[in-house]
Symmetry: C2
C-alpha cells in the first residue's frame, strides 16, 4: 500500500477519534474531520464514501483486532480452575480493553455510545459462536441458539458499558465474576 494512502488514512482516523472524544458522532461534520486531519476535501472522499463508512472501517479495525486476539484463546471458564475466572475469554477481553488501545474506552463510554456498542456486539457474536456455540459449551435448556448467542453478547457489552460508566472502579476479575454469575444458567460444560 502506498505510503501516502496509509498516512492519510491514519490521519483521518486520528482526527476522527480525537473529535469523537469531545462530541458525539452525529455532531461531527465531514468538514471538521477534514480540517482536523489537515487534508484536502477531495482526499477524504477518495478514501471514504461517507462518514458512516469511515465509522464502519474504524470500528472494524478496533473491535476486529480485539476479537481476533481472543479467537485463539481457550474458551474455558471459571469451573475449570476451581472457582477463579482466570482463563476466561471474557477476562481476557476486559484486560485488553483496559489497555485503552487507540482510546477505544473513550468511544465506548462517550455520550452517544450506542453505535460503538452495537459494532462491538456484532463482532463479539462471531467470537461467541466460534468459542462456545460451535464447541457445544452452551447448556441445553430449550432456548434457540441464536437467542443465547445474542444474549451473551448483549450482556457482556452491557457489562462493559456499566463498568465504564462507573469509571472502572472494579477489577477485570471482579467484572468477570459478575458477568459469569449472570451467565450461570447458560454457559457450562
Amino acid at each position: 500500500m502506498d505510503r501516502r494512502q496509509k498516512k492519510t488514512r491514519e490521519a483521518i482516523f486520528a482526527a476522527f477519534t480525537s473529535l469523537l472524544a469531545e462530541k458525539s458522532y452525529h455532531q461531527i461534520s465531514v468538514q471538521e474531520i477534514i480540517d482536523a486531519a489537515d487534508i484536502g476535501r477531495t482526499t477524504f472522499y477518495a478514501h471514504f464514501e461517507t462518514k458512516d463508512y469511515l465509522l464502519k472501517d474504524l470500528c472494524e479495525e478496533l473491535f476486529g483486532h480485539i476479537i481476533d486476539t481472543a479467537m485463539g484463546l481457550p474458551s474455558g471458564h471459571y469451573h475449570c480452575t476451581c472457582g477463579s475466572a482466570e482463563d476466561s475469554v471474557f477476562l481476557h477481553l476486559l484486560r485488553h480493553l483496559q489497555e485503552n488501545d487507540r482510546n477505544i474506552l473513550e468511544l465506548l463510554s462517550s455520550e452517544n455510545n450506542e453505535l460503538f456498542l452495537s459494532y462491538f456486539k456484532s463482532n463479539l457474536k462471531k467470537l461467541i459462536v466460534s468459542q462456545y456455540a460451535e464447541k457445544g459449551m452452551l447448556k441445553e435448556n430449550g432456548l434457540p441458539e441464536d437467542y443465547l448467542v445474542n444474549h451473551i453478547s448483549a450482556t457482556f457489552v452491557e457489562t462493559v458499558s456499566w463498568w465504564l460508566s462507573r469509571n472502572r472502579k472494579e477489577s477485570p476479575e471482579e467484572m468477570t465474576e459478575y458477568f459469569l454469575t449472570l451467565m450461570h444458567p447458560i454457559i457450562g460444560e
Copy 2:
C-alpha cells in the same frame, strides 16, 4: 390546550412515524417532516426545538404509556401460578406491544432501532426499580443493584428485539418463558 396545537402536534407525530417506517431516523430531514405533515416551517419550530426533541417527546409518549399501564400490575412471576408465567409484568408488556399501538413495532424493528430501544430501556428501568428492586424481589448474590436492574432491562429489550427480528413467530407466553429462564438466577422471591 388549543385545538389547533393538538391537531398540529398529532400531524407532526403521524408524519414522523410514517417516515420512520420507511427510513432511519438520521436520514429524515426536518423538511420532509414538514412536507409530510403539511404544515408551515415556522409551525414546526414553534412546537419542537429540534428533531431530537421531537424524537424524545414521541418516545416519551409511546413508552411512557406502556410502562405506566404496567406500573400498577402485581409483579408476580411464574412461580406464583404453578409453572405458568400468567401474571408476569413481562408477559403483560409483550401482549401490549403485540397490539402495535401507534405502529410502535415498526419503530422497534426498524433498521436503525438502537435509538428507540435505548428509550425503551430507560423507561423500563423505572418499572424494574419500582416493581422488583424496591420490593426486594431480587435475589441476593453479591451483585450491585443497579447492575442487576440494568441487566434485566437490557435483556428484556434484547428479547423483544430478537422476537421482532424473527417476525414474532413465538407467542408472548413462550417469549416470557425464554426471558424468565435467563432471569432465573436473579429474580426470585
